[in-house]
């Protein structure tokens, strides 16, 4: 086992463990903090893959922006402790069994597979030479220009939706009683 594999195992194991912590905590603040750990370790995986730029984005966007947003929402809502309810659904053993069986099945199938893709136009040494930021910029605005533009529509729809679904209605719009 070389160093790369050792690091990969560490990052992967931490991601799995803290993902489970995230979904099993009763206190949402603990859950968000566990998620933070997950995000940092995902960034670690990106570094292992020679994608420093994406690793940095992962930390800035997910850990920096999205998680802070989560915490703000939690703070503003200030959910009373009693309202949090039980951390686990009462039928959780059934779900754990189904989930565990599926995971086992996927792991078994993957363990018996070989992944040997052809190297793409950007193998690690090319990326290292031109810098991963430049490489991403180049493909993003040439080869992936069209998807890049369509994704902006997805974001636009999300914004419209957030406003339409949450903005207070005026009485003329059938106003909201006691809400």
């Amino acid at each position: 086992m070389n160093l790369d594999q050792a690091f990969f195992l560490y990052f992967a194991a931490m991601i799995v463990v803290f993902s489970i912590v995230t979904i099993t905590r009763k206190n949402p603040v603990y859950a968000v903090m566990a998620l933070l750990v997950v995000f940092f370790h995902v960034a670690g995986l990106y570094v292992l893959l020679n994608a420093e730029f994406i690793a940095a984005l992962q930390v800035v966007v997910y850990a920096g922006a999205i998680l802070v947003l989560y915490l703000f929402v939690l703070m503003l809502l200030s959910v009373p402790r009693e309202a949090l309810g039980a951390a686990a659904h009462r039928r959780w053993p059934v779900y754990a069994l189904v989930g565990g069986a599926t995971t086992f099945e996927i792991a078994l199938l993957l363990a018996r597979s070989k992944f040997a893709p052809r190297p793409g136009p950007y193998p690690p040494d090319v990326v290292r030479e031109m810098g991963s930021t430049q490489a991403i910029g180049t493909v993003l605005f040439t080869e992936f220009l069209y998807p890049f533009e369509v994704i902006s529509l997805v974001l636009l729809v999300a914004m419209i939706g957030a406003i339409v679904l949450t903005k207070k209605w005026t009485p003329a719009q059938g106003g909201e009683e006691g809400r």
Binding site: L110, S113, V150, L153, V157, G161
Partner: protein, 482 residues
């Protein structure tokens, strides 16, 4: 490295027109006074018609654009027409109920157009990345539309349910894609097809990826066992949205199904064929049998639309060209008929309260003969009684199954149609044989645009026999590359 050619944008004219219209509608809905907002529905209709006209103008194209992210070929054009039809139906049915129940917020029409753009992106995708982005654009718009009538708790519940399960399906889809990428090193549908055909791929991972991608599509077309969300979401969402949702995403799902499975995985056909057969049998059986137990007509139509996904899946079995043509043709018949059937529910809606239960339909033949006649036409068409549209659709689907060597599957389809006749005709029975309930429920509100949409759908459903040959040859000329 590609160079960007501005002239290529012409091929995307239908999407661009829809996008400009959608943005205009969203912006104007802030400015326009509430009384004048139905004018924005007219704008949306004009935009959709213009997009359909642009699609017609580009119909002889067969090009690949932007590093093969987009394919504009007859197949994509056929689906552009279908989505224009769906969005026209959706907008026309919505005008009045949006005022009474939806707080008259006309961003609604913009979201419907955005959903249509997403569907078109899916049908034109030459790359799995575009399939995913189109899927997200469509789904996100639909989640919002499902919850648009905010005062309705059922509408809120439908939106949340659809959102959570839809995101799960997207996650499974992306996992499948990542496995495929790991196996082949590309996301281009054609390149994957070439690598899979060349053989030598690790089979367990390929089958796993196929199952995951298939699961996501099955979720979008509401095939059993991924149908759990359908009845609740269809019942809870505003009825015009249900009408739109029951045809648009289903057609988009099958478009991607055809494109991906026939172009990328023809070599893996033995692997996915059995999956599709099982899906098809389960979907037909569960959809049609549970529909019998429903007392709400809206919920019954939701289960019936699950059943119809099962019939359409028959056309995919065997992966033949005849089957693909039958699927295309059936989707058109289904779109027209289902828009009409849900449209009748919209048309009958009263100022306060929807018309949904079987009891509401009692004696409709006496009180509202025109609406009852329309419902009769659509239900006959869904059952598959000649000379309605649905008969021809089913005829070609089952013929395709027989030609592909699956006679027993065709027989099962016919049997299930017979089962479906029971619950469709029960509504007809209630309309014509039962006495109307005591008066006092109030009259349906006046909805000229919805009546127009339903009338057109009714005429198309009955008169499709006249247009049969041109439509069949259109479907036959629009097959995906195989």
């Amino acid at each position: 490295m590609i160079q960007f050619n501005a002239a290529d944008l012409v091929w995307l004219l239908p999407e661009i027109i829809l996008f400009v219209t959608a943005s205009a509608v969203v912006l104007l809905s802030v400015i326009v006074r509430p009384e004048a907002r139905s004018g924005l529905a007219a704008l949306a209709v004009i935009g959709a018609l213009a997009a359909g006209w642009a699609a017609y103008g580009l119909s002889d194209g067969n090009v690949e654009l932007f590093s093969r992210m987009v394919i504009v070929d007859p197949f994509a054009t056929y689906f552009r027409y279908l989505f224009v039809l769906a969005v026209l139906g959706g907008v026309l049915l919505s005008v009045r109920t949006l005022q009474t129940e939806g707080g008259n917020r006309s961003e609604y029409y913009g979201l419907m157009l955005f959903a249509a753009i997403g569907m078109m992106v899916m049908a034109e995708a030459g790359d799995l990345l575009m399939v995913y982005i189109g899927l997200e654009l469509m789904s996100l718009s639909l989640y919002i539309l499902a919850g648009f009538y905010r005062r309705e708790t059922r509408s809120n519940e439908a939106a949340i349910k659809y959102f959570i399960l839809g995101t799960l399906a997207s996650g499974i889809f992306v996992y499948g894609l990542s496995l495929l990428y790991g196996l082949t090193g590309t996301t281009s549908i054609r390149a994957i097809g070439e690598i899979v055909s060349a053989g030598g791929l690790s089979r367990p991972a390929l089958v796993l990826a196929l199952a995951m991608v298939g699961t996501a599509f099955a979720f979008k077309v509401a095939a059993v066992p991924f149908h759990m969300w359908t009845p609740d979401v269809y019942e809870g969402a505003p009825t015009p949205v249900t009408a739109f949702m029951s045809v648009g995403p289903k057609a988009a799902g099958f478009a991607v199904f055809l494109r991906v499975f026939l172009e990328a995985f023809p070599a893996a056909q033995p692997d996915w064929n059995n999956l599709v057969i099982v899906l098809s049998i389960l979907t037909m059986a569960v959809g049609n049998i549970i529909a019998i137990a429903q007392t709400s007509v809206k919920r019954m139509l939701a289960y019936s639309s699950i059943g119809h996904a099962g019939y359409i899946l028959i056309g995919l079995v065997g992966g033949t060209a005849v089957g693909a043509g039958a699927v295309l043709f059936y989707l058109l018949m289904y779109t027209i008929t289902n828009l009409g059937a849900f449209g009748i529910l919209v048309v009958l809606q009263r100022e306060k309260g929807r018309v949904e239960t079987l009891d509401d339909f009692a004696g409709l033949g006496k009180t509202h003969p025109a609406a009852a006649l329309g419902m009769l036409i659509f239900l006959f068409s869904l059952t598959g009684i000649p000379p309605m549209a649905g008969f021809f659709g089913k005829f070609y689907l089952f013929t395709a199954a027989v030609k592909a060597g699956y006679v027993w599957l065709a027989v099962l389809g016919v049997l299930m149609s017979a089962v479906s006749a029971f619950y469709y005709l029960r509504v007809v029975l209630a309309m014509y044989m039962q006495e109307p309930a005591a008066a006092g429920a109030g009259e349906p509100m006046s909805q000229p645009s919805a009546v127009l949409a339903v009338t057109i759908a009714a005429f198309l459903t009955v008169g499709i026999g006249i247009l049969l040959n041109p439509l069949l040859s259109l479907a036959a000329a629009s097959l995906p590359k195989m």
